[in-house]
């Protein structure tokens, strides 16, 4: 049995046998949802976009989603974080051109948008590997062997160092600060998937799911 809990996949869960678990996977989408659970990594590898003419994100259905988000806030600026998420969801990362588009749509300046993008570590300012892997190594997880998980991930993905993308372009492994799941050490994120209880031994098994 696969022993890593990943609620977004139809995985069986380690500790849930006693308590009954919601194992039903769900891709969530209704009129009110703007946050979709998906592995952005699957759509994320867009290299060489620099030379191509810019293809706007906020057209058609995405534009409508943004319009609905705007209704929730008294200012346009407040839709900035959601709008950046939408860009990252569709493009895998947030380019300067995309920041300019967001700025235009929300009546901000590109420099302002960039200041915000660089504040939040989850926004990618560069294309990342198909699977963007973040491992928590903060103290609680560190006590439980998180750094071994990092080493195992580097080894099995072929990434030379933290932050670098593997030669096959599939993986980028980074350290991340506390993921808010310290009791389930070691949590890792693969794209938007949140996995718990990862150990160095389980790493090859985990990676099989992200090819």
């Amino acid at each position: 049995m696969f022993d890593v809990r990943c609620p977004m996949l139809d995985t069986s869960l380690r500790d849930h046998r006693a308590r009954g678990v919601d194992t039903e996977p769900f891709e969530y989408r209704t009129s009110n949802i703007e946050y979709r659970i998906s592995n952005i990594g699957h759509r994320a590898t867009i290299m060489n976009t620099h030379t191509a003419p810019y293809d706007p994100v906020f057209t058609g259905e995405t534009r409508q989603r943004l319009d609905r988000v705007l209704e929730r806030y008294p200012t346009k600026r407040a839709a900035l974080l959601p709008a950046l998420w939408m860009v990252q969801e569709t493009r895998g990362w947030i380019s300067d051109a995309a920041m300019t588009e967001v700025a235009e749509v929300l009546e901000l300046t590109p420099a302002y948008v960039k200041g915000v993008v660089t504040f939040y570590t989850m926004y990618h300012q560069h294309p990342v590997g198909k699977h963007f892997i973040q491992v928590c190594t903060t103290t609680p997880c560190n006590l439980c062997g998180a750094e071994e998980v990092v080493r195992a991930l580097l080894k099995h993905t072929g990434c030379r160092e933290l932050g670098a993308t593997s030669p096959d372009g599939k993986y980028t492994v980074t350290e991340v600060e506390c993921l808010g799941a310290c009791g389930f050490a070691t949590p890792i994120m693969v794209g938007e998937d949140f996995l718990e209880g990862v150990t160095a031994e389980k790493v090859p098994e985990v990676l099989k799911r992200y090819q």
């Binding site: 678990v21 769900f26 600060e177 506390c178 009791g183």
Partner: protein, 437 residues
């Protein structure tokens, strides 16, 4: 309940009753378990009455500062002249803390109900639930529950059929610990860098979008429906020690214990029992060395202090630490305190918003000194330097992130000086529990 474990007899299960029960996640399931009754009662009363009940219950903030919740609500203008907002703080990023996540994962409707009551009590038209960006699953579950709540008429223009309007939205963070600080959170909702704001003005006067705002932690709010259902007196009676600390508290225990997880106990519960009984003691038969009882930002306790600490605001203060967010980080005798303290300092250096000089430069400098000590290149005077820098970083900045970085450093040096000395004298060679990657 001690999710993900079987409930322990010594737990007082209130908030965690339905942890692990997938049916409680749905609207139907929640109603079947008595959900939304408290909201119905609340909407039939005057907002000020609800504030009174919460005041009476003795409920205090579970996000870290322990501020009396009813009192905080009473700071909102009574006469409404502009929009009011409620922000639910679900940014949970304090190392060692993972309780709000379980509340959202298992009882999303409980949180929606709680927010709706608070929102009504402070006369807010909108609640923003600010969820940290990494919480993809809680986010999806909360969104699904919110959709249901709107569909079932709990929220919206005619909330619970009362004709009152209640709106509630999720706002996803994007990777910044500091956005858990209440004013940074408001900036983040407004689409700004998550910089804490200087106070005054306080949020109750000038909050999100410049309007009167109340910010509460997920767990704080989650207690409110229970208080309304069972009465302030009942909540107040949940108290094992100091009457100023009432109710139950979820403790997230992590680190070197046999059964890490969330445990809900009555305020005043002995930390020793939490660790040895509920969590099954140390892993692999090791012995306890140290414990941080309130999330990484509070001073570290040594073994004696841990074993005599009572888990409430005053009990922790007696031991020279704080209850904080209730994130209990446990170190056994194998832990390299120097390395782990460095790792905490590095966390704060990574997360400093960069506004205040002491924090921006100090967190990074302290980290570098600790790394130098770990590499065997430390100087004898480094410890005094660390203490002096920590002093400079305490009580002088916009928010307490800077202080939070200093707290484990100062308490660590004070209580585990011999471990630092070992690196300084060369008695201990570089490379500890963890090796820098």
């Amino acid at each position: 309940m001690g999710y993900p474990h079987q409930p322990h007899a010594k737990e007082t299960v209130v908030l965690s009753q339905y942890f692990g029960d997938p049916e409680a996640r749905t609207y139907q399931g929640w109603v079947k378990r008595g959900g939304y009754a408290a909201l119905r009662t609340a909407l039939a009363r005057k907002p000020a009455e609800i504030v009174e009940i919460v005041k009476e219950s003795g409920l205090r903030g579970r996000g870290g500062a322990g501020f009396p919740t009813g009192l905080k609500w009473s700071f909102m203008p009574k006469e409404k002249s502009k929009p009011h907002y409620l922000c639910c703080n679900a940014d949970e990023s304090e190392p060692g803390t993972f309780k709000d996540r379980e509340i959202m994962r298992w009882t999303p409707h409980g949180l929606i109900e709680a927010c709706a009551i608070a929102q009504y009590a402070i006369q807010a038209e909108v609640t923003y639930i600010y969820i940290r960006g990494e919480f993809t699953e809680p986010l999806a579950i909360m969104q699904r529950a919110l959709d249901e709540a709107y569909r079932e008429g709990v929220l919206g223009a005619n909330a619970m059929g009362t004709g009152k309007r209640l709106d509630m939205y999720l706002h996803r963070g994007a990777g910044a610990y500091i956005c858990g600080e209440e004013t940074a959170l408001m900036n983040s909702i407004e689409g700004r860098r998550g910089n804490p704001r200087i106070r005054p003005p306080f949020p109750a006067a000038v909050g999100v979008f410049g309007m009167p705002t109340t910010i509460n932690n997920v767990e704080t709010l989650a207690a409110v429906p229970h208080i309304l259902n069972r009465g302030a007196a009942w909540y107040k009676s949940l108290c094992l020690s100091n009457p100023k600390s009432t109710g139950t508290k979820l403790f997230s225990v992590c680190g070197h214990v046999r059964r890490p997880g969330n445990y809900e106990v009555t305020m005043g519960f002995p930390l020793k029992d939490l660790l040895y009984d509920l969590c099954g003691g140390m892993r692999g038969g090791r012995t306890l060395k140290a414990c941080i009882p309130g999330g990484s930002s509070v001073p570290i306790l040594n073994r004696e202090e841990t074993e005599s600490c009572l888990l409430d605001y005053e009990g922790c203060a007696t031991q020279g630490t704080m209850l904080g967010s209730g994130g209990v980080i446990v170190f056994d005798d194998s832990a390299d305190m120097v390395y782990q303290i460095m790792r905490l300092a590095r966390f704060y250096a990574h997360e400093s918003c960069a506004q205040c000089t002491q924090c921006r430069e100090g967190t990074a400098w302290v980290t570098k000194i600790l790394q130098r000590i770990l590499a065997g290149d430390g100087h004898q005077k480094d410890l005094d330097l660390l203490l002096d820098l920590s002093e400079q970083m305490t009580g002088k900045t916009i928010c307490v992130l800077s202080d939070s970085c200093a707290a484990p450093v100062v308490s660590g040096i004070r209580k585990f000086r011999q471990e630092f000395e070992a690196y300084l004298t060369g008695a201990r060679r570089p490379a500890g529990a963890g090796v820098a990657v």
